[in-house]
Assembly symmetry: C2
Homo-oligomer: 585 residues x 2
C-alpha cells in the first residue's frame, strides 16, 4: 500500500507538538497544575515550561529517570516545601516493593510515579494539540526498543520507562478526534472504577470472593432488563468478554432451550438446525455457529433494504424454505445498530415471525443498546421487549471502558441449566450463605473478570439522564456531519437519509475523479482513496476513522461517534482533514 | 448451614482492627508516610494517629466526604505548606471532569483522591492485622446501602464514598492469609500495569489501535512457547478470557484440524467425536464439549491413580474401546496441575498414546504452567513439549492480576483458519502496514481485552529468575505445611506423599471425632466440619481456604499457595486457626 507520508516524519520526531503551547498558556496552566496533589503538578509545570523537551528527545533511547528530582529543582520548590522522598529507582527492584518487609514507602512512591505518568497521559488525551497516534510500522517499533523478556530483572526505573514508552506509542482512544471504532472515549469515573477493579483483583464466580461486585451485577442487570422493557426487570443475564461471546451465549442457550439433550448428547442427537440473521449483521453470529458445531452454512443471511435493515418478508420466506428442506429454524439474530450502517432491524415485525414459527428471537444491540437510555431515540429498539435475549455492550455507545458487554435473557434459570457442571470445588452446596449469588455456573467461563464496577459507578455518577444527554449529543453530532456533507462537493453518501445511529457512511471523491464517468477505471481509483487517506491520517496522527468495502460498494468511510469529548469543531476538522489529505489523489 | 459465629459481630463492628497499631508504630509509620507524594501521606498519618476512627464509625452510613481537609487540619500543615486545592466534591459532578472545558484541575484532584483510596487499600491488604474479609450475608449487604441506579446523578463525593464502601467489603485477595483460590496475591508491578491498561483503554483486534500491546503479545507468546520447549518458540497462540475459554479454544482447533469442513457444515457432516480427559480434570473440558455441540457424554473420563494422575493404560484402553464403537477419538486433554490435588498427568506416556492413535494432545497447565519458570520443578511438565496445545494461566501460579490466560498452539496458522470470518470493516486487506499483526481474526471474540501488558511488565520487572524464586518459595511453603500436619494430631492427609504442586489436601478431625470408629455417623459428622470452620473463618475474617468433597471423599480442605506474600508464620497461623475454630465441633 501507498505510504504517502513516509519520510515526513522520523522516529521520535514531531513529538514536540504537545509542547507547542505558548508561554502565556503554560503559565496559566501551571498555576492550575500547582494545585494538584502528587508529582503531576511539578511534571506538568516542567513540561509546560519546556523541561518536557528532555523527555521529547529521549523517546528514542531509554533515558535515566530521576523521579521528580529533575523537575523539582526548577519548579516544585516554589510551590511546596514538603519532602517528596527522593528514592532512586535505578537502585530498586520489584522485590523492594510490597509484600517486601518495610516496602511500603517504596511501593507508594513507585505507584505514585506510575499514576503521575497516567495522569499526564489523561491530560494529553483530551488536548487536541496532541496526536491521536504516533504511528510506526510494526518492524520499526519492534526494532526501536528492546521488548524482550530475559532471565534478569529490570530496575524500577526501567519499568517506569517501559510504561512511558508504551504510552508514547499508544493510540489515544479517548482523543476527541478518534473515531475509529464503536468504542471510543475515556470516561474519568469509568477509569477510576477500572483502577479500583484492578486493585480489588478478584473473580466473579462466587459471592464468597466478590460479594459487592456480585450484588452490583445483580442490581445492574435487573436495571438493564427494566430498560429493555421486561416486566419488573425479571429474567437473567451475565457480563461476558465482549459482544461476540454474548451472541455466542445467546445461540447456545437458544439451542439448549429447544433441545436440552444437546448438552449431553451433542449435535448428533438432534435435527439439523438453522439460524437466521441479516446480511448486515455482525460476523460473530457466523463465528458462534462455527464454534457451536452448527456450521456457518446453517446461518442464513437475510436480505436487507437499502438502509441495511432486515426485510421481514424475506425472513419469513427463508424460514419456510428451510422448514421445507427439513431443517429446524431455532434462532433469529436481529440487529439493533449494525456495525457499518448503524441500521436497526424492524424488531416488532421480526418478533411476530419468531412467535409464529416458535423461534428464539435474539437482538444484537451491542452497538444500539445505548439508545435505550434516550427518550428521544429508544423507539428505534421498539420490539426488543419481545425478544428472548439481548446483547448490549455498555463499552460501546455508553462509553464504559473496555470490556463491558452484557447478555440479557428473558427466561430465568436457563443459563444455569445450560452451562452448569456443578464443580464441587467452587459451588459447594453446604456454604453458609444464599447460594443463588454464586453465579459462576451460569457461565461458559470458570474465572470471570469483574466488568461490572465501571458501568455501575458511571451510572451512579451520571444517572440515566446523564447517559441520555451524552448519547443524544453523539447522535446530534452525527446528524450535523450528515447535513454538512450530504451536498458538499467531493462527498457522496453511501445511503440516503439522515442517520439512525451515529454511523455516517460516505465516499470522499478527490477532484481528479469528480468528473469521470462511472466506469471501471473510476472504481479502481476510488477503491484506493480511503486507504490512502487513512494511512495519511495515521501518519500525521491527526485523526482516525474507519473505512471498508461492503457488499458491492467499494471502500468508503464509516464515521461513528461515541466519544462525548467530540464537538462540532471536531466534525468540521474531520471533513477538512479528509479534503486536505485526499485532494491530490 | 450452621452460622456458628453469628452474633459475635455486627455490621460495621470490628472494623477498627486496622487501627490497632500502637502510637509508637504510628509515629514511625507517619514519618515514612510524609515522604509520599499525593494525599496518601496525610491520610495515612491521620489514620495511624486515630483520625481513622471517623471513617470506621461511618461505614454504616454515607458520611460527608471532605477530601483531604479534615485530615489536613491536624497533620498535613505540619509537613507541607503546598496548596492541595480544596475542591468540594459535594458540589461537583462527573460532568465537571474532563472532557469538560477547564476540567483538568477537578479531574486531577478527583483521580488523585481515588488513588489515595486505592493506595490505602493496598497498604491494608498486606497488613496482617487487617481482616481478609469483612463478611456479610447477601441480604444484609444489599439492604445496608442504597446500591440502586437512578435517573439522577450523584456528586463526586458520593462516588468517592461508593469506592470506599466497595473496598470495605471486598475480599483482600492479596492478603498473606488468603488461600482460597488458585489466583491469589497482589503484585505491585502487575497492578501498575493493569492501571496503565485501563488508561490506554483499547482493544487487541488490530495493530492499528493497539500497536504496542500487539507486539508485546507476540513477544510474550513466543517466549512462553520457548519455555514449553517448542523449537525456536515457533507456533501460535492467544490470550483469552480465562482457562476455560483457552481449553475451549484448544478443543475447537483440534476438531477443525481433523475435520476442517466442520466450520461450514457443522457436526452433522462429520463422524461422532470423543474426547478424553482424567476424572480429576477441570470441569471446563466438559463445558467446552457441551458448547461445541460435542456433548458431555462424549467426554470420556479416564481413571486416575491415588495421587490424581491419569493412568495411561486406562487412556489407551478407552481409546480402543471408543474406536471399536465407531467413534472418532480426536482430543486428549491432559492436566498439568489438577485443581484439587495439584497432580501432574504423565505427559510423556500420554503423548506416546496420542501419537500412536493420531489424536490431538492438549495440556491444561492453567494451574501448573507456572512451574515451567522453575529449574527445580519444571520436570513435572516433561512431555508438554510434545503437545499440540497448552493452556497456561499466568494469573494463577505467576501471580499476574486477573485475567491473564494463554492458549499456546504448536501449529501456526490453524487458529486463523479455524476462526476467521474476514470481517471487512476490521481486517481491511489494503491497510498500509503488515497485516500479520492484525490478530483479531484468530479469536472467537471480536473485541478482546488487553491482558498482556501486566504479564509482560511483571516479567520485565522480575526476570524469569524472579518468577522462579517466587514459585519455588510457594512450593517450599506447601512442603512445609505438609511436613507440619502429616503426623499432627487431628489432621489426616487425603493423599499420601509430599505435594507435587502447592495443593495440600487434608481433613481436620475435631477432638470429638478422633476416637470414633470409622462408621457412617463419623462420616456424617466429618462432612460438616470443613464447612463450619470455613464459615467461621469468613465471619472472623482471619483467613480463607477452600474445601470440597471429591469422588468418594467427603469435605476436606484444599490448601493452595500462590501468594508470594505468604510466609511460614502464615502457614502456622492457618493450622492453629483451623484448630481454634474447629476444636468444639
Amino acid at each position: 500500500m501507498a505510504s504517502p507520508g513516509s519520510g515526513f516524519w522520523s522516529f521520535g520526531a514531531e513529538e514536540g507538538n504537545r509542547e507547542s503551547d505558548n508561554q502565556g498558556t503554560a503559565k496559566a496552566w501551571c498555576q492550575v497544575a500547582q494545585k494538584f496533589t502528587g508529582g503531576i503538578s511539578s511534571k506538568l509545570c516542567a513540561m509546560l515550561y519546556g523541561e518536557g523537551e528532555k523527555s521529547k528527545e529521549s523517546t528514542n533511547k531509554e533515558e535515566i529517570c530521576t523521579g521528580n528530582q529533575g523537575f523539582e529543582s526548577s519548579f516544585d520548590k516554589k510551590s511546596c516545601s514538603c519532602d517528596k522522598g527522593e528514592l532512586n529507582f535505578s537502585l530498586l527492584y520489584s522485590t523492594d516493593l510490597l509484600p517486601a518487609k518495610n516496602g511500603e514507602a517504596e511501593t507508594m512512591r513507585f505507584l505514585q510515579q506510575v499514576i503521575d505518568i497516567l495522569l499526564q497521559y489523561v491530560v494529553n488525551t483530551f488536548d487536541r494539540s496532541n496526536k491521536v497516534i504516533d504511528f510506526h510500522y510494526p518492524n520499526e517499533l519492534l526494532q526501536a526498543y528492546n521488548w524482550e523478556l530475559s532471565d534478569q530483572p529490570q530496575t524500577l526505573e526501567g519499568i517506569l520507562l517501559n510504561c512511558k514508552t508504551t504510552l508514547n506509542y499508544a493510540v489515544k482512544t479517548g482523543h476527541p478526534r478518534y473515531f475509529n471504532q464503536l468504542s471510543t472515549g475515556l470516561d474519568m469515573v469509568g477509569l477510576a472504577a477500572d483502577w479500583l477493579t484492578s486493585t480489588a483483583n478478584t473473580n466473579m464466580f462466587t459471592y464468597e470472593i466478590a460479594p459487592v461486585f456480585v450484588l452490583l451485577e445483580y442490581v445492574t442487570l435487573k436495571k438493564m432488563r427494566e430498560m429493555i422493557g421486561w416486566p419488573g426487570g425479571s429474567g437473567d443475564g451475565i457480563f461476558s468478554p465482549g459482544g461476540a461471546i454474548s451472541n455466542l451465549y445467546a445461540m447456545l442457550i437458544a439451542r439448549f432451550k429447544m433441545f436440552p439433550e444437546v448438552k449431553e448428547k451433542g449435535m448428533a442427537a438432534i435435527p439439523r438446525l438453522v439460524a437466521f440473521t441479516s446480511e448486515h449483521s455482525h460476523f460473530s453470529v457466523k463465528k458462534g455457529a462455527a464454534a457451536l458445531g452448527i456450521g456457518t452454512d446453517s446461518v442464513i443471511l437475510i436480505k436487507c433494504d437499502e438502509r441495511g435493515k432486515m426485510i421481514p418478508s424475506e425472513l419469513e420466506r427463508r424460514i419456510i424454505e428451510a422448514k421445507q428442506k427439513g431443517f429446524v429454524p431455532f434462532f433469529v439474530s436481529s440487529t439493533a445498530g449494525t456495525t457499518v450502517y448503524g441500521a436497526f432491524d424492524p424488531l416488532v415485525a421480526i418478533s411476530d415471525i419468531c412467535r409464529k414459527y416458535k423461534i428464539w428471537m435474539h437482538v444484537d444491540a451491542a452497538w444500539g443498546g445505548g439508545l435505550l437510555m434516550s427518550r428521544k431515540h429508544r423507539w428505534k429498539l421498539n420490539g426488543a421487549d419481545r425478544a428472548n435475549s439481548v446483547t448490549w455492550n455498555p463499552h460501546k455507545m455508553m462509553g464504559v471502558p473496555l470490556q463491558c458487554s452484557a447478555l440479557l435473557v428473558r427466561e430465568e434459570g436457563l443459563m444455569q441449566s445450560c452451562n452448569q457442571m456443578h464443580a464441587s470445588y467452587l459451588f459447594q452446596q453446604d456454604k453458609h450463605y444464599d447460594l443463588s449469588y454464586d453465579t459462576g455456573d451460569k457461565a461458559l467461563q470458570c474465572g470471570r473478570h469483574v466488568d461490572i464496577f465501571k458501568l455501575w459507578l458511571m451510572w451512579r455518577a451520571k444517572g440515566t439522564t446523564g447517559f441520555e444527554v451524552q448519547i443524544d449529543k453523539c447522535l446530534d453530532l452525527a446528524e450535523y456531519l450528515y447535513n454538512k456533507i450530504k451536498n458538499r462537493e467531493g462527498f457522496e453518501m453511501v445511503i440516503d437519509g439522515k442517520p439512525q445511529h451515529t454511523n455516517v457512511c460516505f465516499w470522499y471523491v478527490p477532484p481528479s475523479l469528480r468528473h469521470m464517468e462511472d466506469n471501471e477505471e473510476r472504481m479502481e481509483r476510488l477503491v484506493k482513496v480511503a486507504p490512502v487517506i487513512k494511512a495519511r491520517m495515521m501518519e500525521y496522527g491527526t485523526t482516525m476513522v474507519s473505512y471498508q468495502p461492503h457488499g458491492d460498494k467499494v471502500n468508503f468511510f464509516r464515521m461513528v461517534i461515541s466519544n462525548p469529548a467530540a464537538t462540532h469543531q471536531d466534525i468540521d476538522f474531520l471533513i477538512e482533514e479528509i479534503e486536505r489529505l485526499g485532494q491530490d489523489l
